[in-house]
Amino acid sequence: MIIQKDQSYDYVFLGNSHARNFSRHGNHGRVEKKLARSILNLGQGGGICGPNDQNIYLSYALSKNVKFKHLILTVSPPYLYGDAFNETTLTLFAEPFQFDFFFHYLSQNAINKNARLAHYLRSKWRPLWWASEPTDGQAMLDYIDKTDSTAIQHGFELAYPKGRKEASFLGNAAHIEAAIEMANQQRAQVTLLSTPTVFGHWPGQERVARYADSLVLVNENVRYLDLSNLIQDPGLFYDHHHLNSAGIDRLAQELKNLGY
């Protein structure tokens, strides 16, 4: 989480791996170029960062006087129904240690905050950290041959190990609203984005859509973009719900066509 002070960006991305994917595998530069926009991507993949911690990242960026015009928040049923993302203590293991981030995090509310901070500190003293190297920025060329319904079903079970609970949804929804509130302070636009999957809608997508529509109704600056069914060519995915680099290029083009 190296964020420079006093920077301005056109877009800030927030969310899980669906947001992170815009910047993985060298995608970041290509997406910026295609959209002709500057992007700060705060999304975190690997299932280690939920809406609560995403807001902490965003508030940290704001504390560094970062300005942005548009918040793009990837929403999906796993993100809104999942408890594990908020509970995991691995969130900060790949972050370099910074005192200001440490104290900023300490001042925030989060589940398992102490364990997460302890892991944040400890991970910097582990061989795994010392041996880490930056990714090479090579494009992701993998693709899936065909849709695998067993793998898809297994993925659903992994996404909601405890089933879809309304209480969990509402808890995470509160964090989404807090993120929108932070964007409102910047007078920024907000897009709630459901990214493409090879299988179309996740189970529970209708609940996400209803919720997103309710936010659109009360916030003039909020827009909901459901692109779940936009791309369904398996050749553009490296797994069933993550686009490979060619897929991201295609998605970026579609976003450009939509005015982004």
């Binding site: 102490n114 364990a115 901070l117 400890r122 003293w125």
Partner: protein, 473 residues
């Protein structure tokens, strides 16, 4: 605020620094005010609504204490009952209302009588069992003329709210603690250094041993029906270690922390797992609570004087009340009753004070006594840990069957190393105040010891949200 949190690591140095900067400023006034503010911040970190309760409890007993002292003899008792009613009323409502309502409904249902009762969504305020007992002891000691009431509200409020011992004890007697808030405190490096040592030891026991044991214990107790007997025995033993390291660890942190502020709290655990019988165990375990019950309930009831029947009654009453103090569940009552049964033979044979004084491993017989007492206590903890009586009985049934030598695969290392280390240190310092009383070691050896413990806590400590067991009390 938890001791094992980064917030506390920031909070403590600030309070410590300001506290000693206020030394000599109008004697104790400003230090006491700081302690009150800091303690309310510490307590309110969980939920600021609960501050009202502790302020109410403090205000009532501060006022009542003076009324007990100043009133004519005939009225003293009424003021005392006011204090008891307020404190027990608050405790009873927050801790036991739903328990008794549900129990009555179940009891009537078992007789075929349907009743509807109104259960409330009541949150249990942290530490309520501790500070209400502490303030009640103040009123009781004034009534018994063992103590004069204080007219200094700041000293009294600081005595009630003192953050190191506020939420999980030790339950301090006013005669020990209150005078310390009325006298000037001077910084004592030796005591503060030993306080830090004791805190380090407490953090090691809590974060490295107790919280890592908790993971294994939860796995075993949550899945006891599919576990072999050996695993269930392991679960009982690990819980025994968990609860000791959790609670005594907290007490060590509390006592050590208090010493940083020039306040001496009483020892709460005197290495109870080296006890040679149950009588000795109860003189070494949660000393502040057991002595409270002894002085304010057991002895007024007659204690061990009177007929055998009266002694039996008193023993069972005290142990059952002690069990109920721990929680609003019949399992705690069963745990207390089981200990009463274990204690009974000793008192009937007048052997309950056989083992007093220093702990020495003088013979194989002594070693066997220690091991057998530890095993009995560990097996009794099964009630304490189980969700209900039926689960506890099923646990015992699973434990005492042919599979007692069979274990499921459990990840035990390096936890066993830390447990062994803990027992070694505590045995070596069994006649000292705490397990890390290493002042006689040479300086380099002490430095290596501190660094090693700190690194062990850093690398192997479990910082996941596992609250101190006794917070629910």
């Amino acid at each position: 605020m938890l001791f094992n949190s980064f917030s506390f690591l920031v909070f403590l140095p600030i309070v410590f620094a300001v506290y000693w900067l206020l030394q000599d400023k109008e004697e104790t006034l400003w230090q006491n005010i700081l302690l009150i503010v800091a303690s309310y911040v510490f307590y309110g970190w969980w939920d600021e609504r609960f501050l009202l309760l502790i302020v109410l409890s403090s205000a009532v007993d501060f006022f009542v204490g003076q009324r007990i002292h100043d009133s004519p003899s005939a009225q003293k008792k009424y003021w005392l009952w006011t204090s008891i009613a307020v404190n027990l009323g608050v405790l009873g409502f927050f801790k036991y209302y739903n328990f008794f309502v549900d129990s009555f409904v179940q009891a009537f249902a078992s007789l075929g009588l349907e009743t509807s009762a109104y259960s409330l969504q009541i949150i249990l305020p942290v530490g309520i069992s501790f500070y209400t007992f502490q303030t009640m002891s103040y009123s009781l000691d004034i009534y018994r003329q063992r103590l004069k009431p204080t007219r200094d509200p700041f000293a009294f409020f600081a005595f009630v709210a003192f953050f190191p011992q506020l939420v999980a004890g030790p339950i301090e007697r006013a005669s020990n603690l209150l005078p310390q808030f009325l006298t000037t405190r001077k910084f004592d490096y030796t005591k503060a250094a030993d306080g830090m040592r004791q805190m380090l030891w407490g953090f090691f026991k809590k974060i490295v041993i107790a919280d890592n044991c908790a993971l294994l214990v939860s796995d075993i107790f949550d899945n006891y029906q599919s576990m072999p007997g050996g695993s269930l025995l392991l679960g009982a033993l690990l819980f025994s270690i968990q609860i000791y390291c959790d609670f005594s660890g907290y007490s060590d942190i509390a006592i050590g922390c208090a010493r940083l502020f020039g306040i001496q709290l009483r020892q709460n655990f005197a290495f109870p797992y080296f006890s040679r019988d149950i009588g000795e165990f109860w003189r070494r375990w949660h000393i502040s609570l057991s002595s409270w019950f002894r002085d304010y309930l057991y002895i007024p009831l007659g204690g061990s004087r009177g007929s055998k029947a009266q002694v039996l009654r008193n023993i069972f009453f005290i142990f059952i009340i002690s069990g109920l103090w721990h929680g609003a569940n019949w399992t705690y009552v069963a745990w207390g009753a089981l200990h009463a049964l274990l204690f009974l033979p000793l008192i009937l044979l007048n052997q309950h004070r056989k083992h007093t004084g220093k702990l020495e491993l003088s013979s194989l017989k002594t070693a066997l006594q220690m091991v057998s007492t530890f095993m009995l206590v560990s097996l009794a903890w099964v009630f304490f840990r189980s969700e209900n009586i039926a689960a506890a009985l099923e646990y015992y049934a699973g434990l005492f069957d042919a599979s007692i030598l069979t274990f499921a695969p459990h990840k035990l290392s390096p936890l066993f190393v830390w447990i062994l280390l803990m027992f070694i240190f505590e045995w070596l310092h069994r006649n000292e105040l705490h397990g890390l009383s290493i002042t006689r070691w040479k300086k380099p050896a002490r430095a290596i010891c501190y660094m090693s413990l700190t690194m062990i806590i850093f690398y192997f400590g479990n910082f996941t949200k596992v609250e101190f067991i006794y917070f629910a009390f």
